[in-house]
Amino acid sequence: MGDSAGLRTGTSGTPRLDGSGGPDLSCTTLDNGLEIVVIPDRRVPVVTHMVWYRNGSADDPLGQSGIAHFLEHLMFKGTELHPAGEFSKVVSALGGQENAFTSYDYTAYFQRVAPEHLGRMMEFEADRMGGLNFDEAVVAPERDVVLEERRMRVETDPPSQLSEAMSASLFVHHPYGIPIIGWMHEIETLNRGHALDYYRRFYAPDNAILVVAGDVAPPETVPRPERTYGRNTPHAGSAGRSRPREPEPRAARLVSVADAKVEQPTLQRLYLVPSSRTATGRENYALEVLAEVLGGGPTSYLYRNLVLDAGAAVNAGAWYMGSAIDETRFAVYAVPAEGRSPQALEADLDRAVSAAASGIDEDMMERAKTRLIAETIYSLDSQSSLARIYGSALAVGETLEEVRRWPDEIRAVTRDDLRQVAERYLVPRRSVTGYLLREPG
């Protein structure tokens, strides 16, 4: 690496300008089942090393909500070979950064370091894939840390409490209705045994994906993962996820959180919709475009209708959590204008949502598609984003080909597709409405 290597001007792996190409990546699978994706980005001498496990909070055993997340914390507490904190000290001394996160469908660990340290990251990460071992003494303080995390995120925050209540109501049977961090009273009972049982069930190379993004070429300089991860023993067969399916929803639901701390009421709505994995045909792509058209920023249909035209709201939007294994969430929300209640705004929102299918014109469709597709090009500018996009897609069972085809699929969505998914899924019986209200103190 020369003295001008800091911001290298790109030569190799230039993506196709229309965004349909994606980065120049390679993938392999080790004999023990570990899937490996390498995404070169040679502009800066930095590499992002991530391991994704195909298990998340939705795989928590009944009564042990929060165990996936608690284990994620305990993964920093040492192994047979390395005492608590040693991995973190090494990462830090090498000028690296690290962290981890837990979601409904996956758990991931990452470090960002200079390329020459990639081999050491692999050694440590492969070691804690199978060799986790921590003292009983670290469990109680770390559980307190998680309880403080929950107090910070939820117990002190009425909007988060509403969001939890809405999810719990939307999913009447599926564990997506349980918060990732877990319920307070169950976190309090989690112990070392729960964590290690869960660990032994899921942490193995055949349940994991290694993503390396960054300055990893030329190939002869890349540490060979066989020498580290290759030594990890696979489970005999996949641990498997076994989750109950949602029943067909029939009841429109309404929940509200009223709190003296609330000064600004809001209106939220969730619909139960197909995900990238459960959709038939182009439904999930249509839902992506629908969310963007309906609620992607100040040119969106809802913002136009409720904020600019009616003056009923000061903000409005929508989003779709398409990347999920099971049936998932589509959300719309609005913040009522001064003097308006969420109840009054709900009628306007309902009108706007039902009129949207016929009110969306070609210009709006084109704008939405352009923005969605441009996002994929913008993401090429950040190796961390790329690592997350590919890692999360594989972790929920999408294929690399599906990720590559995404812009083309978005482009192919028609107004008819939008109308169909809107009419089929954005209906009261599939919905939960939420009010955040002020309770006189």
Binding site: G95, Q97, A114, K261
Partner: protein
């Protein structure tokens, strides 16, 4: 320590350029992705808000892309969205910053919309009222959010009677009082080319950058009329204030003296701060507050450097029953670090982390553009990125002692707590 990363963290190919009309910019050319990212700062942010009208600069920032030139807000936003051009403005205490990202294929439109936004914003009445309503809704949404409550009270106590004591976003009352004339006047005083700093990163050559910068900024007037802001030191050290809030966990903000980025002792203070409460899992506060005692999910400190004030600022949150214990641990750790300093090994590791990780902040065009614009705004020099790791590597225990004396000093803190702490 990573010699490779240290050397590579110096983007040796930052090109200083001056446009035909004299707009100064720093640029880094990179053809990897067909996009260009622009970052820039106009001096004079929330500190220029008229008395009683806190939030004016933030409203100005939010209104620049709400209609400009011939385009009313909806048409302006449609033009941005139709080409996925990302344009935003934010008001800090000392500057209004702007950020533009576009695919290079759409540069003509992107730079024209940027020109209109900075040079010819319309400030239509309906847009002003909409942004006011959104700002007030946002303020109300956060009004009793414990982190926000603690932070507002901390700044009010730290800088009473000074613009830095006012929230950038203002209050419901102050934002209600802002007039269109206030916004027009603030635009006239601060959005000029006199104190402009621009950084451009992406697939665009110097000649084209010069031409486009002239197009965007060349027509702005040259003088700016920023109201002088008094230098101020953090007040209230040794005081502890509680804002009562019905929540099970208290949010704690604490602070003491700091050093500005331009101060020769800034780098030693930065290294010292890393040892105390910097962003790695290895800091003393992280170890003592979180790892050993499970008192909090997050705890840390940072150096805050404004144009006219500097401080060391810390945060954490713990359940009401453990607030006293948590504060004891923090105070004791600060006292210990001030008295004994870091060990030689700790100092070496802190320097290794800070030099090694510097490159991690330069891994996307937008990040690079913002770093460059900030360095230019602070007048640290175009070679700062090249020099910075050497400055860190040269820090000695003597430097650390001096920095500790000037920042942590006698260990007295201003502490603001929001919650219902027990046993204080």
């Amino acid at each position: 320590m990573s010699a490779t990363l240290t050397a590579s963290a110096s983007p040796a190919n930052i090109v200083p350029l001056s446009s035909p009309a004299g707009i100064e910019a720093w640029s880094v050319q990179s053809d990897f992705v067909p996009l260009v990212a622009l970052a820039f700062n106009f001096e004079g942010g929330a500190s220029q808000d008229p008395p009683g009208r806190a939030g004016t600069a933030q409203m100005l920032g939010r209104l620049l892309d709400e209609g400009a030139g011939p385009y009313r807000s909806d048409i302006f936003q449609e033009r941005l969205a139709a080409r996925a051009i990302e344009l935003s403005f934010t008001a800090g205490p000392d500057a209004i910053g702007g950020s533009l990202k576009t695919l290079t294929a759409n540069s003509d439109e992107a730079f024209e919309l940027l020109r209109l936004a900075v040079a010819e914003p319309r400030f239509d009445e309906d847009a002003v009222e909409r942004v006011r309503a959104q700002t007030i809704a946002g303020l109300k949404y956060q009004l009793n959010e414990s982190g926000n409550v603690a932070t507002r009270r901390f700044f009010a106590e730290a800088f009473p009677g000074h613009p830095y004591g006012q929230p950038n976003s203002g209050t419901v009352e102050s934002v209600s009082a802002v007039t269109r004339d206030d916004i027009v006047e603030l635009h006239r005083r601060t959005i000029g080319r006199g104190r402009l700093k621009v950084a451009v990163v992406g697939a665009m050559g110097s000649a084209e950058i010069g031409r486009r910068l002239d197009h965007v900024f060349g027509g702005l007037h040259d003088v700016t009329a920023v109201t002088p802001v008094a230098d101020v030191a953090i007040g209230g050290r040794g005081r502890q204030v509680v804002v009562d809030l019905d929540v099970p966990q208290s949010v704690i903000r604490f602070g003491t003296a700091g050093l500005s980025w331009r101060d020769p002792d800034f780098i030693p203070a930065y290294v010292l701060n890393h040892v105390l409460g910097g962003g790695a899992f290895t800091s003393r506060l992280f170890q003592e507050v979180r790892e050993r005692r499970g008192l909090a999910y997050g705890v840390g400190t940072s150096l805050v450097s404004y144009r006219h004030a500097a401080m060391t600022w810390g945060y954490t949150a713990t359940k009401n029953e453990r607030v006293a214990e948590c504060l004891e641990v923090i105070v004791a750790e600060i006292a210990k670090l001030t008295r004994d300093g870091p060990s030689d090994d700790e100092l070496d590791k802190a320097k290794a982390y800070l030099t090694g990780s510097y490159a991690l902040g330069f891994d996307s065009s937008t990040k690079i553009a913002h770093q460059l614009a900030q360095i230019a705004f602070e007048d640290l020099g175009i070679d700062y990125i090249r020099r910075r790791n050497d400055l860190v590597a040269a820090v000695t225990q003597d430097d650390i002692r001096r920095a500790a004396e000037r920042t942590l000093g006698d260990g007295s803190l201003l502490i603001a707590i929001a919650g219902r702490p027990v046993g204080l």
